[in-house]
Symmetry: C2
Subunit: 422 residues, 2 copies
């Protein structure tokens, strides 16, 4: 029977759940795949792990890949610096390396896959995007015969949870964020999630696999979600639109667009039905059209199981050949990206304001699809105005926003959200 | 460069689209996978294929697997008898065999995989279930570390199209079926689709992969969709239920339930949002919970692409080891299956009827969750009565239906639809 001895680095929520998964799944894996998996060593700074006393622990995590008792290093510590060092040490020591770390893969996949190849060992990263959904395998195996034209997904469960609660329960952004933290869907420091960086890293990884070109985070236009107000979500409802934290990748005539930002989708679209902390990815291919993959995006158990699929594949020799897939770098630009736009601004309640604003739009070649202005919403002498435009390129809408800001009738800042027809 | 020469059997819609896919994808596949694919021989009864004149054709399809110019036989003729003969000839002649034929796989997978193993060649069947969704790979690779507890899916696009049109446009079953035929979503002879047999065959295949046990069509409790009336769909709307052609597989304490039948799901459930000819599969695993996979269930291009993924995997040596997965047979029973039930009957419009019916329910230990009876719906001296019951086992509801039929107050037949909370 084939044996693989795992060196587990990191014993937080996910690390502990992973250890439990290995212990609990041992007989299932043994029976189904004829594979003997065990955790032979744990790297944990505290030097012991309550509940896993039977497994040898060392305090210096960087020593795990040096051990003769380890065949596969599983990295669940997070962050980039120490995990990168760990990954290099593992691969250079001819240990397979499996990680759930999107930041590490987004930043260093190219270099790591080169080291892996030189040392004839493998690197698994299924758990790095959409934890419980086997999206990496879907792209690299399930859709491989197809040309992928674009993808669109909800890749950050924290943001989706926040928007869902704002829409369902009318919570403010801050209250919804606190609730997410309380229920364990957001970290105590939620910066990575709400800045859009987490989703942007995952977008890089999906883009690299989808388009066969190495994407880096600088290729992704990303925006945070912390300036979203319940007002925007409410106006969206009136327009039959649902706000979602979207990540997109598009390929057209060898030009690429990658983005992660809050955007409206139509109420009837499949992505609109993905609620709370769930993730989903919609893949659009040349021949098959759209297929969608949905499920839990994070969580200790789903993540642990995705890590385990990589380990089983390593044992079965079913390995992703990165160099086969990814040969060149990806060049992306966002200014030609075209979609509908939602603009909310406060304007003076006087005659001729809408005429002036419409003129700015028309001068930039933009037509107005919807306009909402309600006397009821008036506060003092300003009144909110919501405009939905026809499809326009990013550079055009930015010019329009800048022109509108010049108008003395437009008070305060302008909320801008994109509307994607997916 | 690795070469694979394909012998294509069948040049109907799917066969022709497959040939086009190979021709159009040649350079993409060459570039991405270093693989030289070509169709070296076509088996077509007519002896020529307009549009594919450059490829050698033979009239006797059974001769294709005998050719020295063929490495992989692709079977797109459908049916069981001739395709089974073809499959055996191919595998015995040490040709790989790839098929989109669910009837063949559901009936003969065990025998065919044995012949494939003896001859050290491979058998691919990704296209046999949910054409454009890589569900076979998801189960065998993406979810392999998980114990699959159950699945529920919409596996027959024709039926889903018919129910969608009945619900959206108020069409009768017959009119919706004609529309499906006109738009190419139903065969001229739609028996396999509307009898439930097509979905039952696919249920067998998914069950075998999910539960590691060989399932046959006799294990599946299946029902047709031709007795569904728009009345049931309309009452469903009043109860916030949507009718879907569902296929289910459940495993509990080593007991199995497999079924394919029309059933109600809640309006808010993900499967309710899968419209028209689309397919979807919801997989419930022990550790990850639910993940959903949705997309086109059939169609010439999606099916062709799924066939092509099998061919690329054969070239890459990434092959499904059936004997590794499937060791024993599956035993299934339906009488313990428990869910909610919808019953519609016509009853005499007289005092005491509901009391009598409620008594029958109560005597069988069933409680009533919802009851609809509207004076407006009365016709002559009978009035429709709709009852939604609490969860009960199949054997109980069948006893209740049989008892209700004994009542003289219940006129005509009783419509019975299951309600699944998925």
């Amino acid at each position: 029977m084939k044996k693989l001895r795992i060196g587990l680095c990191g014993t937080g929520n996910v690390g502990f759940a992973f250890a439990e998964t290995i212990i609990n799944s041992k007989s299932l894996i043994n029976q189904n795949y004829g594979l003997d998996l065990s955790i032979s060593l744990i790297g944990a700074r505290k030097g012991k792990v309550p509940g896993l006393e039977n497994i040898k622990v060392i305090k210096d995590i960087q020593e795990v890949p040096l051990s003769d008792e380890v065949d596969v290093v599983v990295e669940l510590i997070g962050g980039v610096e120490e995990s990168f060092k760990l990954a290099k040490a593992a691969l250079n020591n001819k240990k397979h390396f499996v990680t759930a770390n999107k930041a590490l893969i987004a930043a260093h996949s190219k270099e790591l896959f080169e080291i892996a190849k030189q040392n004839q060992v493998h690197l698994g990263f299924e758990a790095s995007v959409a934890g419980g959904i086997p999206i990496i395998r879907v792209i690299r195996d399930g859709l491989m015969s197809n040309q992928i034209n674009s993808f669109a997904g909800i890749l950050n469960g924290t943001s989706n949870f926040i928007f869902s609660k704002m829409a369902e329960e009318g919570l403010s952004f801050e209250t919804a964020l606190s609730l997410a933290q309380k229920e364990g869907f957001a970290e105590p420091d939620p910066t990575f999630d709400i800045s859009g960086q987490d989703a942007a890293q995952k977008t890089c990884i999906l883009a690299t696999l989808s388009f066969f070109k190495h994407a880096v985070i600088e290729n992704v236009h990303y925006e945070g979600i912390d300036n979203i107000s319940t007002q925007d979500i409410d106006y969206g409802k009136q327009l039959q639109l649902v706000l979602k934290p979207l990540s997109i990748g598009m390929s057209k005539n060898n030009k690429f667009t990658l983005g992660s930002f809050p955007a409206f989708v139509k109420e009837k679209s499949l992505l609109a039905s993905i609620q709370n902390e769930s993730n989903a990815v919609l893949m659009n291919t040349e021949s098959t059209g759209g297929t969608m993959y949905a499920g839990p995006g994070a969580g200790a158990k789903p993540t642990s199981n995705s890590v385990l699929t990589d380990i089983i594949d390593i044992a079965r020799g079913k390995i992703f050949d990165y160099q086969e897939f990814v040969k060149t770098s990806l060049d992306a630009s966002f200014e030609d990206f075209s979609c509908g736009h939602y603009l909310r601004m406060e304007v003076s309640d006087e005659a001729g304001v809408i005429a002036k604003i419409s003129t700015v739009m028309a001068e930039n070649g933009l037509s107005i699809d919807n306009l909402i202005q309600k006397e009821l919403d008036k506060k003092e002498d300003v009144i909110p105005l919501v405009i939905v435009t026809s499809n326009s390129e990013e550079k055009v809408i930015q010019k329009v926003i800048s022109d509108l800001r010049e108008l003395s009738e437009v008070k305060n800042s302008i909320s801008h959200l994109r509307i994607l027809d997916i």
